[in-house]
Symmetry: C2
Subunit: 406 residues, 2 copies
C-alpha cells in the first residue's frame, strides 16, 4: 500500500496567495464594475529591460539553427552567466565569490524551498516571524516540525520580528542548526546593518550553524552603508548560503531565473562530527534533480550585467521605490505606522487591528489588494503588507481610494 | 551543529554523465585532432521547430511592453498550455485526461526526481534495472534504501530487464508500494504492449501500489498497436502518474518544458488506511516549491500542438528514427545483438564483454561517445547504449569509424 508523507497533513490551510486569489475572485464576481488594483503579491508589472529582450531574441535565433542550437547545458548554469554574476554582483562589491560557487536556477522560491533537503531531518530550524511561507512549509513537509498549535509548528524556533526590536530578530536563546534570514525583509521591508548581520555570522560560527540568507530584494538597498550581500560581512563564507533572484530586479517573475551562492568553504557536519562540504552536497542534489535554466533565459540574465542592462534595471528599481515612498507617505499621513519602503519594495503597515479584517476592508471598499500580515506568521498579525510593484498611476489611484475609504 | 542528510553518503560515485564527460575531456585533451561524435547522452542536436521559434519571438515581444507583460503565472502552468496538452496528447487518443490534471514543469528529470517526496519514507520502491539513474538516486537521498552493496542498494526492489525477459521486467515477487516504469525504455529502447502494461495496472490495483510511468520517449512509438500513454490502459487512472517532456519530441532539452499527469482519481493512503488524493498532495508540493515555467517557453510548448508544430515535430522524430534504424542495422551487421531503435531513439547493444571497456574502446579508437550500460545498473553491465540524437552525417561517420575499428 502506497502511503503518503504524513508530514503534509500537518500543513495548515492552503498557501497564502491562493487564499488571497480566492477572495479577490469572489469580490470581482460580486463587483464586476470595480477595477482591482493589485498591491498584494510581490509581482512586478513593468516590461523586461530592453537589454534582456534583445538577448532573448538573439538567443531564440540561435535555437533556430542546427549549428548554433543549444541542448542540455551544464546543470549549474552556463559559465557566461556564472562569471557575469560573480563579477557583477559580488567581486565588484568586494565580496570574494567565484563563478563556480554560483548555482543558476529557475527561482529563489525553488532554491529556498529545496536547500533544506541536504541536511538532517532532526536539524533544529530557526525561522523569522513574520516570514515568506515557503521556509516554514518546506521544513514541515520534510518532517522537521511537530504539529501546528496556535498558528505555530512545534519544534521550530521562531525568531520574532516586532516593532519592539525594529523587526530585526534577536539571536535565538536555545541552540539552532539552520537559520533562515531575509534582508531587505519580505514582508516587513526591514534592513539589517553590517553589525547586525555580523552578530548572526558570529553566532553561526560559534554554534556550527548554517545561515540561509535570502537576498532577493538586495537591489532595492539605496543606503550605501547597508550590506547588499551577506558576503560583505567577514567570516560569512564559512557559514552562509545566499539566495538571489532576477525576479524583483530585472522583472523576471514570469521569465524565471535565480541563483544560489554556495561558497566552497561552507561546511556542515556528519553525525560523527566530520566536516562535509555544503557545496559538494548541493552540487549532487542540483545535478540529480535539476536540469538547468532555459538557454535564452540565461542569455537574458547575462544581459542584466551589461552597461545597458544595469542602467535599465536601476531605472526599474527607482521606479518601484518611488511608488514605495509614495505609499509610505500616504499611509503615514492617514495615521498608520509604517516600516520599509525605503530600501525595499514592501511597506509593512500596522493595521491597528486584525490583518485579514483590514485586507477585506481595503478589498471590499476600494478594490485594492494587499497582503494580510497574519499570512506571514503570528507576529504578522495586526499588520498588512503593501507592495510597490505596480504602475505609479495605479499606486496613486489606490492611495486616493484608500484615503477616501479610511 | 548543522548535520548533513547522511543518506547522501550512501550515493555511489558521481552521476553517470559526469563520469562520461570527464573521460571525454581527458581523451580530447590527449587527442586534440580527433573529432568527437557524441552518441552518448540523449541530447537532441537539431534546431527547435519553426512553430516554436515563432511562438518564442512573439512571446518575447509581449514581455517587452507593460501592457502585454507577464509576471508570475499559475504554478501549474497556463491554461492555454494545459488545455493544449490534454487535448493534443490524451483526449485525441481516447485517454480521458483533463487540463487540470496536467502540471507543467521545467523538466521530466525534476518531476521524476521530486515526485517521491509526497510519499512515506518507508515506502517499498520497485525500480527497473537497467534504469535512468535519477529514480534510484532520488530515493537514496530520501532515505528509502540501505547502503549500496555489489552495485545495488539494500531495500530497493530491482526489476531485472534482461535479454531473457525481452527487457520487460516481471512483476515483483514481494509486495511493493511505488513502481517506476519507463516505456519506450531508457536505456534499452524496449517497448511494452498494452497487455504487458495491463498486468502492471492490475498488480497496482490489487496491491494499492502506485506506478510512476515515464513516457518521455512516447513520440518515437511508430507501431500503432503499442500504447503511447499509460492512460490508454483501462484502470490506470486510479494507480498511475505519467511524466512527459518536450525535450525529446520538440527538441526542448535546452529550452526546458515538461509536464506530469496526475489524475484526480489517483489515490495514496494514510497510515490508518484512509484514501488521500495524490493530485492534492502534488498540487501542494508543486505550488510550494515551484513557480512555473518561463512564459515564452510555455508559449513555445503550446505551439507544438499547432498543425505546423505537429508536422515539424513528426519530421524531427522521423529524422532521429532514421538514424536509429541505421545504427541498429550497422551494429547488427558487425555481429552485435541489438534491442530498440525501432520505436525508440536508443539502441541497446550487447557489448559481448565489459561495458566500460567497449565504451573506452569506442572513445579511444573512434572518438565516438556512447553510454556504458553499467552506468544504468547491474543488468546494464555487458551492454552499451547508442543514442540516435545527432545528424545523419555524423551517425554515418560514427558507424564508418566503428566498422573500421571493430
Amino acid at each position: 500500500m502506497i502511503k503518503i508523507n504524513e508530514n503534509y497533513n500537518k500543513l495548515q490551510a492552503s498557501y497564502l496567495f491562493s487564499d488571497i486569489a480566492k477572495r479577490v475572485t469572489a469580490h470581482t464576481e460580486a463587483n464586476p464594475d470595480q477595477s482591482i488594483i493589485r498591491l498584494g503579491i510581490g509581482d512586478v508589472t513593468r516590461a523586461l529591460p530592453d537589454a534582456c529582450i534583445k538577448a532573448l531574441h538573439a538567443a531564440v535565433d540561435e535555437m533556430a539553427n542546427d549549428g548554433s542550437f543549444h541542448g542540455y547545458g551544464p546543470e549549474q548554469g552556463y559559465d557566461f552567466l556564472r562569471e557575469a554574476i560573480a563579477k557583477g554582483d559580488f567581486q565588484s562589491r568586494g565580496a570574494d565569490i567565484e563563478a563556480d560557487e554560483i548555482f543558476v536556477s529557475d527561482g529563489a522560491k525553488c532554491d529556498s524551498g529545496n536547500f533544506q533537503e541536504i541536511f538532517a531531518t532532526d536539524a533544529t530550524v530557526a525561522i523569522p516571524d513574520p516570514v515568506y511561507p515557503v521556509y516554514v512549509d518546506t521544513n514541515v513537509m520534510a518532517g522537521r516540525t511537530g504539529e501546528a498549535k496556535d498558528g505555530r509548528y512545534e519544534g521550530l524556533v521562531y525568531l520574532d520580528a516586532t516593532k519592539e526590536n525594529g523587526f530585526i530578530p534577536d539571536l535565538p536563546k536555545t541552540p539552532v542548526d539552520l537559520i533562515y534570514l531575509c534582508f531587505p525583509n519580505n514582508p516587513t521591508g526591514a534592513t539589517a546593518t553590517k553589525a547586525q548581520l555580523k552578530a548572526w555570522i558570529d553566532y553561526a560560527r560559534d554554534n556550527k550553524a548554517l545561515i540561509l540568507f535570502d537576498a532577493a530584494y538586495e537591489a532595492f538597498v539605496q543606503d550605501d552603508s547597508l550590506p547588499r550581500s551577506i558576503y560583505e560581512i567577514e567570516g560569512s563564507k564559512e557559514v552562509a548560503i545566499e539566495f538571489r533572484s532576477f525576479s524583483k530586479t530585472a522583472g523576471f517573475t514570469g521569465t524565471r531565473c535565480a541563483y544560489t551562492v554556495v561558497p566552497k568553504t561552507c561546511m556542515a557536519y556528519t553525525e560523527s562530527g566530520e566536516k562535509a562540504s555544503v557545496h559538494a552536497l548541493w552540487n549532487r542534489r542540483h545535478t540529480t534533480k535539476f536540469n538547468s535554466v532555459s538557454y535564452p533565459v540565461q542569455r537574458a540574465a547575462e544581459a542584466v550585467f551589461s552597461p545597458e542592462g544595469q542602467a535599465q534595471v536601476q531605472e526599474l528599481v527607482s521606479y518601484y521605490l518611488k511608488n514605495a515612498k509614495y505609499i509610505r507617505e500616504q499611509m503615514e499621513s492617514l495615521g498608520y505606522d509604517c516600516m520599509g519602503g525605503e530600501n525595499s519594495p514592501y511597506i509593512w503597515i500596522d493595521a491597528k487591528g486584525d490583518s485579514w479584517e483590514l485586507f477585506d476592508k481595503l478589498l471590499n471598499n476600494t478594490g485594492v489588494v494587499c497582503t494580510p500580515g497574519a499570512g506571514f506568521g503570528k507576529c504578522g498579525e495586526g499588520y498588512i503588507r503593501i507592495s510597490a510593484f505596480n504602475s505609479f498611476e495605479n499606486v496613486q489611484e489606490a492611495m486616493s481610494r484608500i484615503k477616501d475609504a479610511l
